[in-house]
């Protein structure tokens, strides 16, 4: 008799699953991963810090020439670019994790459980956004220590933070899409290489005005340039303004680009995920 009663208890427990609750469980799985692999977690977090030093200390003197707005303190120009770059690099961790889970059959196991498919994607989403918030805070502290500051009040800084997170959110879908559809680690490695030229070919590190005309034009239309310009504006940092529409409307573009990217890639990602394995 008691055995049957126990069964009944367990039955009621099984009924109470919400997509959000399940997503949070999968987010916590990612926390367990971080704790189990502190090395990989910290390397991912500190890599943009390394890039900050590389550009700031190594190239900074040459880039921040005497007739720039940021002569003598390249970090004022650089940090918003680094923040934007970190959002792009976050795409790699999303993609790698999604690809590994799909390849190992872990995703299939999750999909065979009584949870909604949304929960698996949402769990990944929450974990990656938390990771990016941590990374961004770390970078801002690094920037402040190196002489970067914002001069537009807390509201401006918060808005800039939000814009960066919006970009990260849109790239999340790109990461999930590529991670699910990529054939294997080789394709993932290709994307890991590709993020470099994509981040360089922008105004993140260097003013496009210093580039050959055609190259500067490409750098200016890069969606990353919009986010970097807009955050510079919001932080009150010296920025890029060539008087063109692209720089005038950087803020609008920094909102529209991520929304457009999300609108294209979120359905693609969900579709690819549903189709996993045919």
């Amino acid at each position: 008799m008691s055995l049957i009663a126990t069964h009944h208890d367990e039955l009621t427990v099984r009924g109470t699953g919400s997509a959000l609750g399940d997503a949070w469980l999968l987010t916590r799985r990612q926390f367990w991963h971080w704790r189990a692999q502190p090395g990989a977690f910290l390397v991912g977090l500190f890599f943009p810090v390394l890039v900050t030093f590389m550009f700031g200390a190594l190239f900074g003197g040459a880039i921040a020439g005497p007739d720039t707005d940021y002569a003598g303190n390249y970090y004022l120009f650089l940090m918003p670019g680094i923040f934007t770059m970190a959002m792009l690099f976050g795409l790699e961790s999303t993609m790698t994790a999604v690809n590994a889970d799909a390849a190992k059959g872990v995703t299939d196991r999750f999909r065979s459980l009584p949870i909604s498919g949304v929960a698996v994607v949402l769990g990944r989403c929450i974990a990656d956004m938390i990771n990016s918030v941590l990374g961004l805070v770390l970078l801002m502290v690094t920037g402040v220590l190196l002489g970067w500051s914002w001069s537009n009040g807390l509201a401006g800084a918060a808005a800039a933070f939000g814009l960066l997170m919006l970009l990260r959110f849109s790239l999340l879908w790109v990461g999930i899409f590529v991670g699910v559809t990529a054939r294997g680690p080789e394709s993932v490695a290709a994307v890991q290489i590709l993020v470099w030229p994509v981040s360089m070919l922008s105004n993140l590190f260097v003013d496009p005005a210093t580039m050959p005309g055609w190259l500067g034009a490409i750098a200016s239309v890069n969606p990353l340039s919009a986010t970097a310009s807009a955050t510079r504006e919001l932080f009150g940092n010296p920025g890029w303004n060539d008087g063109s529409g692209l720089s005038e409307h950087a803020l609008t573009l920094a909102i529209c680009w991520p929304i457009a990217i999300s609108l294209v890639f979120a359905p693609l990602a969900v579709r690819a995920y549903r189709r996993l394995g045919g």
Partner: protein, 335 residues
Amino acid sequence: MHQPPPPGPGPAVDVRGLRKQYPRSPAGTGLVELDLRVDAGTVHGLLGPNGAGKSTTVRILTTLTRADGGTARVAGFDVRTQGREVRRRIGLVGQAAAVDDVLTGRQNLLLIGRLNHLSAAAAARRADELLQRFSLTDAAARKVDGYSGGMRRRLDLAAALVVAPTVLFVDEPTTGLDPQGRREVWAAIRELVGSGTTVLLTTQYLEEADQLADRITMLSAGRVVGRGTPEELKSAIGGDWLDVTLPDPAELERLQRAAQRFAAGEMVVDEATAQLRIPVADRTRALVALSTLLGEYGIDPLDIAVRRPTLDEVFLQLTSTTGRPAADTDEAARR
């Protein structure tokens, strides 16, 4: 034990006219009008070579893939329209051991328990129970990364059993395992069946199907080529086999020609061992005929054996005999 919610009415698995085509891989792995019925509490073996459609079937039945046509019900629920109800009642052990390398064995089971909506305490209790049952208690706190192939498989199986499923799908459970690991997995599956779980097992190994399955469905290129109990399938193709080993392989051809009179199917000539294998319908008569023949030719055989066919031979017969519609064997094998 944590029981799944009660199943719906009908057999554990009921598949009718299931179709699936992969436009990008025309060379197989699809399904052509599959019918399949698995009664509750039995082990059903889905047997066939690579590309026969075994995994496709499992993926459709576990709601991972959608069929192009036909219907499939698992534990009484439609896989297309009631996926969630199906998923509450099934366990899946896929081809790759789907365990999280980075986590410990115990963390893996805890996560699955929580995702099955057990309370934290119940998930912990269940995880420890399963670790013990699969002899993984000592490795429970270690990362799965360092586990052996057999240990990973056992953990994988444990993960599928966190909530004792009504129907357990096991896709090629012992591929890549050593004999020791294979025996462990077989023992675990047998034990499960004792507790009332229905198992649908896919395998390339006829021995495995013979060992574990109550009934077998043989697939080839997405079609059913035979079904029944292992015994029925063995009888379905000409009853017994006579193996006669000669002292000289040169005599094989002459003997084979003469044996045509009482052979019930295609004979197998093995030059290397100088053995002729003859499928026969009536073993006593065939034995008498063979003895007479050997006497006439003055051959003194090294060995004569009468035996049941292996499932390998059944499979070869069913797939190689052209012009023999699959439906015939279906009907013959069905009770």
